[in-house]
Each structure stands twice: as C-alpha cells, then as structure tokens.
Amino acid sequence: MPSFKHIIPFLSAGQNKWSRWFSYVGLGVGVLLLLCSIQMFININHLLKEKSSRKDGADFISVTKTITNENMGMDNRFTEADLKEIKSQPFISDAAPLISNQFRVKASAGSIIPFSTDLFLESLDEKFLDTVPPSFSWKEGQTDVPIIFSSDFMEMYNVFAPSQDLPQLSDKTMSSVNIILECYTPVGVQNYKARIVALSDRINSVLVPNSFMQFANKNFGGVSSVNASRIYIKTIDANNPQLLNFLEAKDYRVNKDKTKFGRVKQILQAIVSGMAGFGVLVILLAMLLFSFYLQLMIAKSKDNLQLLLTLGYSPKWLSRTVAKNWIPVYISIVLAALLFTVLFQFSFQHFVMYEREELSPLPHWIVLAVAVILLLLSILTNYRLIRKLLYRLGEKM
C-alpha cells in the first residue's frame, strides 16, 4: 500500500502555514494551562490540608450559634432538630452535643495549691475524644470523678500561676493534684474528688464522663435533658467549602483556626479552576482553527482527493493515512506541554515552596492521565473530522 509520502503531492498541505502553526501553538498553550491548573489544584489541596486534630482520618470541630446583639437574650442552644439537621448533611460524618452542667460547681486544689474557682463542666460522647484513658468512667456511688482537661487551660494556668504565688505544673504532676469538686445541690454541697486523667488538645473544656453529667444534672440541677450550647462535628475535611457554606448559612460559629484555610483554599481553587476553564477554551479554539485548516486543505485538494477515490483509493485508508500524519505533531505538542508542567512543578516545589515535603517535585499521576486523554482525544477528533470530510467527497463522486 502507498504511504502518506505518496499522497502528499496530491494534497495542498503546504498552504495556510500560519493558521496551522497558530493552531499548534494554541493547542500547546491550552494543554499547558490545563495541566498546570490541575497540578496547582492538587498542590493547593495538599498544602492546605488540616493536619492537627485528626482521628480516623477525620476533622473534629466544635460549633456554637453566633451570638449577636439581636439574639443575645434568647436561648441560643441547639435543639434536637438542629442536631438532626447537622447530622443529615452529607459532608458531616457525625455530630454530638457537648452537655454542660446545670448546677453550680466550684473547684479547689486543697492545701498544697491554695486555689479555688467556679468551674464549668461538660461531657461529650467518647467517640469524639482524642485521648480516652480506661479510667475515664464513672458509676453512681463513686466519689472520685475523672476529668479530661484542655491543654490550653493548662497552659493558661501555668502562665498566671507565678503571679498568684501558685506552683507551675507539668503534665505529669497535674494528674497527681487532688481537686475537690464542690457541687451545689438544692439540699447543700456535695463534694467529689476529681483527678485529671488526660489532657486534650482538641477540646477547650473540662470534660467529665457522660454518666456523671447525666446523674449530676438530674440530681443536683433537677434537669433530665439539656440542650447543648456546643455541638461537636466530625467531618472528613474541615475546609470543605460545602461545610463552610452550610455553617455560614445557618449562622453557626466555628473555631476559625480549624477552618481558616477553607476560604483561602476556596478562592485559590476557584482561580485555578478558572485557569483550567480558560485552558479548555484555548484548546477548543486551537482545535477549531486546526479543523478550519484541515477543511481548507481538503477543499483545496477536493478534485485530487475525489480522483484518488475514483481510482480505487479507499476513503477509510485515505483518512487514516492523512490523519496519521498529524499523530507525531500531536504527541510532540502534548509532550512539550507535559515537559513544561514538570518544570513548573519542580520550580514551584523547589524555589517557591522550598522543597516542602507535602509536595512532590513531579507532576501528579492525574496530570499525566489528563495529558494522555487529551492526546487521544485530539488524535481521535482529527481522524473523525478527516474521515467525515473524505466520506462526504466519496458520496459526491
């Protein structure tokens, strides 16, 4: 069978060089834009991922209702319906209320540390705790109560302790301090011995076992069910824009630290998506320009192509042979764009991000896959276009 070199003298392929080269450059720029955008999208995801407070691959954030001047006097606690709605959101894996004490509690540390303060207590489902020691349980009749204490509170105590002539405490000594919990009941004060069994980085609170809280609220506060002021949420990604939008729409407040990357990420991703969209547009325009070039070439070579078909050349073979001629061109264009993407990613990781380990100096496999898909798509589109034009000529014979 003859090859393209036998056919080329019969085609006006050398014409319209400008439009051909413009379409090549356009295609290259478009592919580069798209590949770099995808890579940047992946980079942003890697760089702005919340690393702390993760357990079982999930983020935990506490949510309260925003207190404004308008709603200050009202009950701003979460109802059962609120909790149910939060739990039903697809981006929220689980949620649980933080139940607070409904009676007055005072804590003192005895004679060694002459310190006494009014205190608040909260309890939370154990699934949401980062550190749950086996001793964190309470049964009715027990006189000592285990406590999980916030690391932040511990730090605050150590900051102001010297000025109050109190001893600073290490994490270990903290657990050996005997705290007296004075619970005010309708019939007098009930004392419990409290012990700090663990420190929590995640929850800014003083936590007691659920069983103790239920017992004490019922018996000391006279309340059996309590609406929570705080809800604890478990989510795959605290920076998920959908989650942030939901919280914003409901006027819920979150710990800004946990989600501060969310908005930045949202904006950056929007910019990068826009860039990718622009890349796709440039690719489409380049393909359109190239298709005009092909149509013009085939229109100018119409008589010759028609004669070739008359002489017995098969339209299928002709379109394959003509289309095959552009495969190396497409491969070169996509490879060049890919090479620039590799350079871009390497430079970004090396010079901009100073070799941060979350980033790979090489493009992500998705970028390579997209490059391959784009290559196959351009070859296929090109082939189909030429085939269509030639079959049309064949029909007119």
Partner: protein
C-alpha cells in the same frame, strides 16, 4: 467475475428512444474472458453506460450487479475494493492529475495494487512513445499523450474488466493500433474482459460480441 445489466435505462431517457438498443432496457451478462465492443453514436448514452458500470453514477432504473450484488448498494469503501482488484477504466475525459508529473500519475495507481514492477512503466511508456514525458508535468502533454498516459495508468492494476470510453479519440492510426495491442496483451495476462465503447467499429479490436447502444 460477471457483470449483469438487468433492464438498465437512464432515468433521463425516454423509453421510445431505446427500442433498437441492444443494451438499454435489456438483460445482458458480461463474463470474464470475452471482449465486448459497444458501438454508439453521439448522444446515445455511451459515457453514461461506462460510468454506470464503474459505479460513478446511479441515475438509472434497473440493476447492475457485480457477480450477484447490486452495485447501487455499494458504499465508497466497497467500490474501492472492486476498483483496486477487479475493474479498471480509461475515461473519455481522462481524469489525470494535471499538476503532477506523468510518472506520479502512473505510480499513484501502481502503488494502490501493483500488478507490474516499477520498470514496466518505462517499458510501456516506450511502447506508446511517451517515455520522454515521464518526468514532465501532465498538463504540459498534448491530449493524445494524455490519452496514452490514461491507458498505461489503467494497466497498472489487476482487473477482470477493463472499461474503455473512446480511448483513442485523439490518437493517430499507428498509435491506436499500438495502444490496442498493449491493452489486449495486458488483458490476456489477466484473462480479463475489455469493454470498449466507441462511436464506430474498431476493426483491429478482437471482440467476441458487438452491441449497438
């Protein structure tokens, strides 16, 4: 291979016009190996018949079958298979690539389904007296020379049928004989059929059947 014409009549013909025709509106079969001479005055549809047989046009009623298949059902792909292997043609209007050289015109046909080696082209060109034109642009050749190029091109492929539509109109007597001799020789090599359509009888064409259109 066989070609069947079953009551073929151009759509643009009035039925009364073809009463005396031995081809139009008749059922005839052309079998491989027998030469057919079709004699037709101007305007009797000679070129139309050759184009119908080659599948270039289908504005006729009736059926034309290659073997037992109606060629009206063929697509361009199917025709290409028959044109590469079974049926070759010399058009009255020649249909050459005028912007290409004579050699390119011949080679583009030979590449497709080579029956001859490359050097046979030169030998044939020499026989018909156009060997000096091989590297010239086709458009610079005279019509007579172009007719000989079209004849040599038709002989570059295997075929069962060779369709000739007034192939010698611009050749002198000596060149006509040479060309006919070459075509008959090539046809014999393939045990093929020549269907020659012309205005008048060509006495040196040895045909088994003569049909008046």
């Amino acid at each position: 291979m066989q070609i069947l014409l079953d009551k073929v009549l151009p759509v643009f013909f009035e039925p009364g016009k073809v009463i005396n025709s031995q081809v139009w509106d008749k059922t005839i079969t052309f079998s491989k190996g027998e030469n057919i001479h079709i004699i037709a005055p101007s305007g009797s549809g000679k070129t139309s018949l050759i184009h119908f047989l080659y599948g270039l046009r289908n504005d006729y009623n009736g059926r034309i079958c290659y073997d037992s298949t109606n060629i009206k059902n063929f697509d361009a792909e199917k025709f290409s298979v028959w044109r590469q292997q079974h049926i070759s043609i010399v058009f009255q209007d020649l249909r050459l690539f005028t912007e290409q050289t004579v050699l390119q015109n011949l080679e583009i046909k030979r590449f497709l389904s080579p029956f001859h080696a490359e050097n046979n082209i030169t030998a044939m060109a020499k026989r018909l007296g156009i060997e000096t034109k091989l590297n010239k642009l086709c458009k610079t050749c005279s019509y007579g020379e172009q007719q000989r190029i079209a004849i040599i091109r038709a002989l570059q492929q295997p075929f069962d049928f060779l369709l000739l539509d007034e192939p010698f109109s611009h050749l002198d007597e000596a060149n006509r004989r040479k060309a006919m001799e070459l075509m008959e020789e090539e046809s014999r090599k393939r045990n093929a059929t020549i269907i020659l359509a012309d205005l008048r009888e060509i006495e040196y064409f040895k045909s088994e059947r003569t049909l008046h259109l």
